[in-house]
C-alpha cells in the first residue's frame, strides 16, 4: 500500500499521456488547411498537445529520479541507524563487563539503562508501525469517502431529471451533513429547510430562473 501510494503519481502522468494521444488522434481527423502555412483547425491544438507531452515526460523523469533518490536516502539513513544501534549495544556490553568486576550495583544500573533503552526502541517501533497502519487506514477511508461523495453528487445531478430539485437538494444536504458527523436532527432540519427556502426565494422568485 505504501509503495503504491509513493508511486501513484505515475498514474496521473499516464492519464495525461492517454488524454494527449487520444486528443492527437482526434486532431488528426480534423480537415487540414490548404494554406501554405498550416493554420487549420488542428494547427494550434497540436502545438499545445505536444507541449503537454514533452513537459509531462520531463516531470515524470524528474519525479521518478527524485523518488528513487529519496528512497535511497531513506535506506542509507536506516542502515546508519542500525549500525549506530549495534555499536552502542557493543559499547554498553563492554562497559557492563568491565564494571562487573568493580561493583554489582553499577552493573545493575547499566542493565536497567539498557532495559529502558530497549523499551524506548520497542515503543518507537510500535509507534512507527501504528503510524503506518493509521496512514493506510486513513488512505483507504479517504478513498471510500472520495468515491462516496462523488457518487452522491452524480446521483444528485442526475436526479434533477427525475424529481424536483428541492427534494433532491434536501436529500443531498442531509446526506453530506450526516456524512460529516452531524447527528442533531434540529441542525439537519433547520439548515436544510433554510437553505431550500433561500434558494427558492433567490433563484425562483427574485431571479426568475426556471429551476429543474
Amino acid at each position: 500500500m505504501g509503495s503504491f501510494k509513493k508511486w501513484s503519481f505515475v498514474l496521473l502522468n499516464g492519464s495525461i499521456y492517454v488524454f494527449c494521444f487520444a486528443a492527437l488522434y482526434f486532431t488528426s481527423q480534423l480537415p487540414q488547411s490548404t494554406n501554405k502555412i498550416d493554420v487549420g483547425s488542428g494547427f494550434f491544438p497540436k502545438i499545445v498537445l505536444w507541449l503537454i507531452i514533452i513537459t509531462n515526460t520531463i516531470v515524470l523523469i524528474t519525479d521518478i529520479v527524485a523518488k528513487k533518490r529519496s528512497s535511497t536516502a531513506e535506506q542509507s539513513i536506516k542502515s546508519t541507524e542500525t549500525k549506530n544501534d549495534m555499536s552502542k549495544e557493543g559499547e554498553n556490553g563492554q562497559s557492563a563487563v568491565a564494571n562487573n568486576h568493580l561493583n554489582e550495583e553499577k552493573n545493575a544500573e547499566v542493565t536497567q539503562d539498557e532495559e529502558v533503552e530497549e523499551d524506548i526502541a520497542t515503543e518507537k517501533q510500535n509507534v512507527k508501525t501504528n503510524d503506518s497502519e493509521n496512514e493506510i487506514i486513513q488512505d483507504s477511508t479517504s478513498v471510500v469517502r472520495f468515491i462516496t461523495i462523488v457518487s452522491i453528487l452524480i446521483i444528485y445531478i442526475y436526479s434533477w431529471n427525475i424529481i424536483d430539485y428541492k427534494i433532491s437538494t434536501a436529500i443531498l444536504a442531509i446526506a453530506i451533513m450526516y456524512m460529516l458527523t452531524i447527528r442533531s436532527w434540529k441542525i439537519l432540519t433547520f439548515v436544510t429547510a433554510g437553505m431550500i427556502a433561500s434558494i427558492y426565494v433567490f433563484f425562483e422568485v427574485i431571479m426568475r430562473i426556471p429551476m429543474p
Binding site: A23, G40, S41, I157, I176, T181, I182, V191, I209
Partner: protein, 500 residues
C-alpha cells in the same frame, strides 16, 4: 467637468449606486454568481430609469462585484470570479493564520486604491491611452497574451513544468468547440453543449470550489476542522501600514489600469501579471513570503482587478469596444438607453460621460464604506462550521452553475472539473495556471492564426513589430529566468551536499 460632481448631490443616483455596490458584493460573495450575471439580471429594470441613473446602478454592481469576489477567495479559498483567483494565493493563507479580518481589510483598501486610480486615469488620460491600444493588431495581441501566460512559472507552486502542463491543459480546453477562424467543430463529438466550448464559470467553480469540497470531505479530519475553522475578527490597519505598501499599490493599480484599457485582456490577466510584478519588485527575502499570506499578495491582486474597472471603460466609452465581459454587458445596457459609445460620445454627450466618471468614483467610495463596515455581514459565512458550510457551498455552486444558462450540462462540467482539480492538487499541480490557460487560450489561438494568415513572413512577423517583439522578449525572460535561477540553486545545493 462640473458634471463630474453634480452626481454627488443627486439622491436618486446615490441610492442606486449604493444598491448596485451592495448587490454586486452580495452576488460575488455567493459561489457561482458573478457581477456579469447581476448586471444582466438588472438591465431590464433600467428601462424606466434615466440613462445616468440606470447605468450608474450597473457600474455599482461592476465595482462591487469585482471587490466582493475577494471575500470568498480569502475566507473559503473559492474565487467568486477569475479576477480574484490570484487573491487566493495570499488571502487564504493569511486567513488561515487567524488574520481573516486583516486580509479582508487589505482587500478592501487595495480595491479602493486600484479603483480610484483607474478612475483618475479614465478621467484625465483616457483618449490618449485608448489611441495606443487602437494600434494593436493580431501579432501584438498574441504577444500580449503570451506575456500573460508567461507568469505561469510564478504561480505554479514551485514546479514550473507542472505549471506548464496545467496551463497547456487549460489552453487545450479552450480549443474545444467551434474553431474561431474556420468555424470547424473540434472535439465536440456531435454534442450541442460542447459547440460553444466549455463554459468558463462552471469550469472555474469546479476547479476551485467543488474540488475543495471533495477534498475536505475526502479528508476524514472534518471533526477537527471545527476547532481549526476560520475565525473572523475585526482587525484594523493603521495608515502607516497602508502607506508602507505604496509600491505594491502603485504597481498593481498601474498594471490593472493598463491591462484594463487593452480590450479583451480582462481582470484575470491583470491580477496574475500584477502579482508577478509586485513579487519581482519586492526585496529578495520578502519574495519568498509570497503565497504564505502577506499583504503585498492581496494588494497585487485586488488593486489590479479593481483598477481594471476604470481601465476597461476607456475603450468602451472612447471606441465602443468593451474591455472585458462585464463591460460587454454594460455596453448592452448603454445601447438600451440609446447611448452609442465611441469617440463622438466625448464631444456630443459630455454630460453623460462625466456623470459616469463621477458615478464610478462614488461607487468606489461606497465600496470602501461597505467593505470596511459591512464586511462582517459577508464574513459570517466563515463562522459557520464546515460540516454545515460544505453542503451549502456545493449546493450553491451546482445550482449557481445551472442558473448561468439553465443547462444541466454546466453542472456536469463543474463536477468533472471538481474531480480533475482534486487529483491535480493531490499530486501538487497548481490550479491557477489552468484558469490562465482557459482564459488566454482562445485569445492566443485566434491572434496567432490571424497574424500568420495575414503575412508571408511566417513566425518572423512577431519579431518584426516592435510592440509584439517587446512583449515576447519580456515573456521569454519572465518565464525562463526563474527556471534558470531555480536550476542554478538546485545545482548549487547538490554541490554543497556532495561537499559535506
Amino acid at each position: 467637468m462640473e458634471h463630474l460632481f453634480t452626481v454627488f448631490f443627486d439622491f436618486q443616483i446615490l441610492i442606486l449606486v449604493l444598491f448596485g455596490v451592495f448587490f454586486g458584493i452580495l452576488l460575488a460573495a455567493i459561489p457561482g454568481l458573478t457581477a456579469t450575471m447581476g448586471i444582466a439580471l438588472l438591465i431590464p429594470y433600467t428601462f424606466t430609469l434615466p440613462p445616468v441613473a440606470g447605468i450608474s446602478m450597473l457600474l455599482g454592481i461592476y465595482v462591487g462585484g469585482m471587490y466582493g469576489s475577494s471575500i470568498l477567495a480569502i475566507l473559503i479559498r473559492t474565487p467568486g470570479t477569475p479576477s480574484s483567483a490570484a487573491t487566493v494565493l495570499d488571502g487564504y493563507p493569511m486567513a488561515m493564520k487567524g488574520d481573516a479580518g486583516k486580509a479582508l481589510t487589505w482587500a478592501t483598501v487595495a480595491s479602493f486604491v486600484g479603483g480610484l486610480f483607474s478612475c483618475l486615469v479614465l478621467i484625465f488620460i483616457a483618449p490618449q491611452i485608448a489611441s495606443v491600444a487602437l494600434k494593436f493588431g493580431p501579432a501584438e495581441y498574441f504577444a500580449l497574451s503570451i506575456f500573460g501566460l508567461s507568469i505561469v512559472g510564478a504561480i505554479s507552486g514551485g514546479n514550473p513544468f507542472k505549471g506548464i502542463i496545467v496551463a497547456a491543459l487549460g489552453v487545450f480546453i479552450g480549443t474545444i468547440g467551434l474553431d474561431p477562424i474556420l468555424g470547424q467543430q473540434r472535439y465536440t463529438f456531435g454534442s450541442v453543449n460542447l459547440m460553444g466550448g466549455i463554459s468558463f464559470i462552471p469550469a472555474l467553480i469546479g476547479l476551485f470550489a467543488v474540488s475543495e469540497v471533495i477534498k475536505e470531505i475526502a479528508q476524514s479530519n472534518i471533526v477537527n476542522s471545527l476547532k481549526n475553522r476560520l475565525v473572523y475578527k475585526k482587525q484594523r490597519l493603521s495608515l502607516k501600514e497602508i502607506f508602507a505598501q505604496y509600491k505594491a499599490f502603485g504597481i498593481a493599480s498601474a498594471i490593472g489600469t493598463i491591462i484594463g484599457i487593452i480590450p479583451g485582456s480582462g481582470a484575470s490577466i491583470a491580477t496574475f501579471l500584477s502579482y508577478n510584478e509586485v513579487k519581482r519588485f519586492s526585496k529578495k527575502e520578502r519574495r519568498k513570503e509570497f503565497g504564505k499570506g502577506i499583504p503585498e499578495g492581496i494588494i497585487a491582486s485586488e488593486s489590479a482587478n479593481n483598477a481594471v474597472t476604470g481601465g476597461a471603460l476607456v475603450p468602451l466609452l472612447t471606441i465602443g469596444i468593451p474591455g472585458d465581459v462585464v463591460t460587454a454587458v454594460i455596453l448592452g445596457g448603454l445601447m438600451i438607453q440609446g447611448v452609442t459609445p465611441g469617440p463622438l460620445l466625448f464631444t456630443e454627450n459630455q454630460t453623460l460621460v462625466y456623470s459616469l466618471f463621477g458615478t464610478l468614483i462614488m461607487a468606489n467610495i461606497f465600496m470602501l464604506i461597505l467593505g470596511l463596515f459591512g464586511v462582517k455581514i459577508f464574513a459570517k459565512i466563515a463562522l459557520v462550521p464546515k460540516q454545515i458550510l460544505l453542503p451549502i457551498i456545493v449546493i450553491l455552486c451546482l445550482i449557481g452553475c445551472y442558473s448561468i444558462s439553465n443547462n444541466i450540462f454546466d453542472v456536469w462540467v463543474a463536477l468533472i472539473f471538481g474531480v480533475i482539480g482534486f487529483f491535480l492538487e493531490k499530486y501538487k499541480y497548481a490550479l491557477a495556471p489552468m484558469v490562465l490557460g482557459i482564459v488566454l487560450g482562445p485569445m492566443i489561438e485566434s491572434n496567432l492564426r490571424r497574424a500568420l494568415l495575414n503575412t508571408d513572413q511566417g513566425w518572423a512577423v512577431f519579431f518584426q513589430k516592435p510592440i509584439s517583439a517587446l512583449f515576447i522578449t519580456i515573456a521569454i525572460l519572465t518565464f525562463v529566468v526563474p527556471i534558470v535561477m531555480s536550476l542554478y540553486q538546485m545545482i548549487k545545493k547538490n554541490k554543497t551536499r556532495n561537499a559535506i
